[in-house]
Symmetry: D2
Subunit: 293 residues, 4 copies
């Protein structure tokens, strides 16, 4: 593991002292594990699809059926949502425990396993009952007590990188889960904040360079989430295909039956037809880089 | 051209007032033009390959022969180089006019057209005599007198985005060339500077999101240069394939017969065999997104 | 409140809808409140001084005595510390509840009120018993359940700005506390992450421009913490004096009897003599801008 | 010169190899030199005041008289202006050689020496005839042929830091001037670009931390320009006073008789009365840090 490039964020010393469990033991070392019958870290690229927010029982079941038909492996959907401001509106809300129940119903109806976000310690058990993967959101990436508490459930954990944090910080967060003996840890890139003057045209910039950078030093699978980063549906397709070409070990996408009327962030989801068409293109690019979907 | 996403850097007003020539006239508007028999802006993706710096006559001819054999369309190589500090060493130098001559020799031997950097007004004519494409480097993106002077040669111009500049600034630079009646303008993304805390592991981060962002508002072709951005040869392959999947209209790569002994930036070039193998993979990804090489 | 400057992060609509409680009602609106006999938001500039980490009972009492003698208004010191990696060493540790006890002892001995960090919901009551101000650290700025839980104790709260968050995000966090009816909210700037290429020479850059920017839109006091941002003791003096000249409503400083042997971040604390000398200079600059210490 | 802090941009090796002339020879080493009777690098802090752009002969003479009356040491004003887009309007223009003539007239009338920007090699001699200090703008900081050409005039040079460049890059630019034997080099901080998510509320963030960082490694004087960075007149006062408290060796300010009708950037200049009042406050803060104006 030659790690001598100037400007590298992670040093060889870090790999030994700071995240010995997240660090690769050899150049070919890659964690391969099963979650709900889906293999992570191998040739296949799992796809997580669904809405930003669970809006109703009917909505989430309808979405689950449609994304499953197009080939998604997991249903994503938020029951608990971190919102920058404390006020909710008729259109902008969380269903909380009620939403968890609807996710469970969608799973019962379709068989699709669930990935959903956990934001607070007091809800860990409730979320763990429904989720096949517990998602740590960007804002909680360094909420260490939450990481430890979630790790202890034994459930697989996906850690979204904070938009202002380095690869080194991200691996530190993963180590908090691994040190509890929980080995099913997935990393997820979702965009970094960029200086105003070189903002390409969005709030965040999807950092695809972090995919080979992370894979160089860690054995953990790295998922890419282009929907949040781009914040703009027309860019989701090119950035999804680029993620696969860059070596992503999974893809997370926002899919909504009627994007313009989504409860949260209506500019970023794609609809059922767009998702179905994108899955076909994703398979073509995956095949070109000797992966499968 | 719906341009309403929050956080967008380029407004509809900008498209009308600031860069009317660079702006698309309709969603499908794309500039297609020929340079030295190679078509830009269409299905085919031109590849520029060669060393950072022209080191000797033999070196540049050998490189030209090898990258041509693997399918490159243009030979790249610097005769004039902007260096952050005023001191040169035995290993770190520019051949200047002598280097231009060697580029001309390499073209004569192989037929490969030339792209090379122009840094100062007094050398514009000398460079224009040899170059098929005049390259404006990142540090001169906003050197407006130079842009105007180069535009007036009538030679095609490739403008590298400054690592601290926005899409809006970049299109402003392109407009300086277009307004002189020179329509063969190519944009080139080469990485942006990123906050220390979320540096993935390099000096720069290749901004692939700017490719769909630029193509949404401008008709000009957008090339990607993964070598400089990643500064690390092992990441060049994934970021090159990701560039193509993201929709890049051209690829610029550093190729050197003996990378570790390159005069400048020895960690980033790939060697002949790596380039040849990468070309095969690039063709596979290009084909998956309905492009060709 | 004219808020029309281009590039402004906070809009007039935000002031009405997103943080109506944090927003100023008129240009001269400033919150003035008392904490443990010290007035915030008025002419006087409170100073919080002490170690990064409570290391022992003797250490914290000795520090309390010394910073009090030089004129500090509050004792700062961490009993709970967020650490990027899960491993502790002999030198790098947290005393947790034991440390809280020592802070209480230091207060009993010297009368200095206490500011200390709270990181997890399960410790809120324990910290609230000892702290006069509950500090929310940079990494928990958007840990909304924690903000709400802390707000409900009724104790004054100081919110450190996340190094990757905007003024708008920061005011959103303040609103989470204010909406619970807790009006004693203090904002604290502690440095933002900056692009690698324009890093002045540290991990973070103290954003003094945010002081007038925040004071333009919010009535809450704004404290500056130069120690963490600069990460380098020799720069603490100029950045502290600059903070006061920029209008800071409070100053937080790391003071340690033997900085090079501090348990955490040994390059940033100043020693007793340096603190005493700095207090004299702070008074001179405060007086020049019609404030007092 | 202990330079061991983690994250430092400039290494001891750089000081020896990359900018031996810009580097301090000892901790107390500071360049002190005279320009037009004003001492730089010593106790006194020179003030450069005037409009962004020379708009007319009457305007510039009126401004020169007024800023001189309030105590400014130099008249600033742009005859040549770098504009992001190639189009000019009735309100937004450059007077070029005509403007240089008006600057000369203002100097003849008031005796105030002149600082003005030079953007292109072909105008170097014309500008050198009028200017007492040749200003290199942010966008030309790494235009190395221009730096060399300007250095050779022997005129004092002020180099504005590029908004996306590091201290290391900045010192590299200074070295290009010093290596030509021109020792009167002044550095000027004017704001760096910051990530969208932590933008405090402006396009740029004035990096005051770079003042002690630069003074730690170089003997050259460091000037601060709060007008451009803040882009908002109400923040100019606090950031000017903070610059002095942070140790700035000079202050550059935009002053205009009727700011709202300024030809360029009407939100950032202060008017005559504001400048006069600010000079009084600047003197008070300067005195508090043992400097004079």
């Amino acid at each position: 593991m030659d790690n001598k490039a100037p400007g590298k964020d992670v040093t060889d010393q870090d790999l030994k002292d700071k995240f010995p469990l997240a660090a690769k033991k050899s150049p070919d070392h890659r964690s391969v594990f099963d979650i709900a019958g889906v293999t992570f870290g191998a040739e296949t690229i799992p796809v997580f699809a669904g809405p930003n927010t669970v809006e109703s029982r009917d909505q989430i079941i309808d979405i689950a059926r449609n994304v499953k038909k197009s080939g998604a492996h997991f249903l994503r959907g938020g029951a608990f949502k971190p919102l920058t401001f404390p006020y909710r509106s008729e259109k902008y809300y969380e269903l909380r425990e009620e939403g968890l129940g609807y996710l469970a119903d969608a799973k019962a109806e379709t068989g699709l396993p669930i990935i959903t976000e956990i934001m607070e310690e007091s809800k860990v058990d409730a979320v763990a009952e429904v989720a096949d993967i517990m998602q740590i959101g960007t804002r909680n990436m360094q909420n260490f007590p939450l990481l430890t508490r979630v790790a202890k459930t034994g459930k697989p954990v996906m850690i979204k990188r904070h938009f202002g944090c380095s690869l080194r910080d991200w691996l530190g967060a993963a180590e908090y889960v691994l040190v509890e003996g929980n080995e099913k840890v997935i990393l997820c890139e979702r965009g970094v904040s960029v200086p105003h003057t070189h903002r390409s045209s969005s709030r965040f910039l999807l950092d695809l360079q972090v995919i080979p950078a992370a894979q160089e030093v860690t054995h953990l699978p790295v998922v890419s989430d282009p929907s949040h980063a781009t914040f703009w549906a027309p860019w989701v397709e090119p950035m999804t295909l680029a993620s696969i070409a860059a070596g992503a070990d999974g893809i997370m996408l926002e899919v909504h039956p009627d994007p313009r009327n989504a409860a949260v962030d209506p500019l970023q989801p794609i609809d059922y037809q767009e998702f179905d068409a994108l899955m076909t293109k994703m398979k073509a690019v995956a095949s070109a880089v000797e992966r499968t979907l």
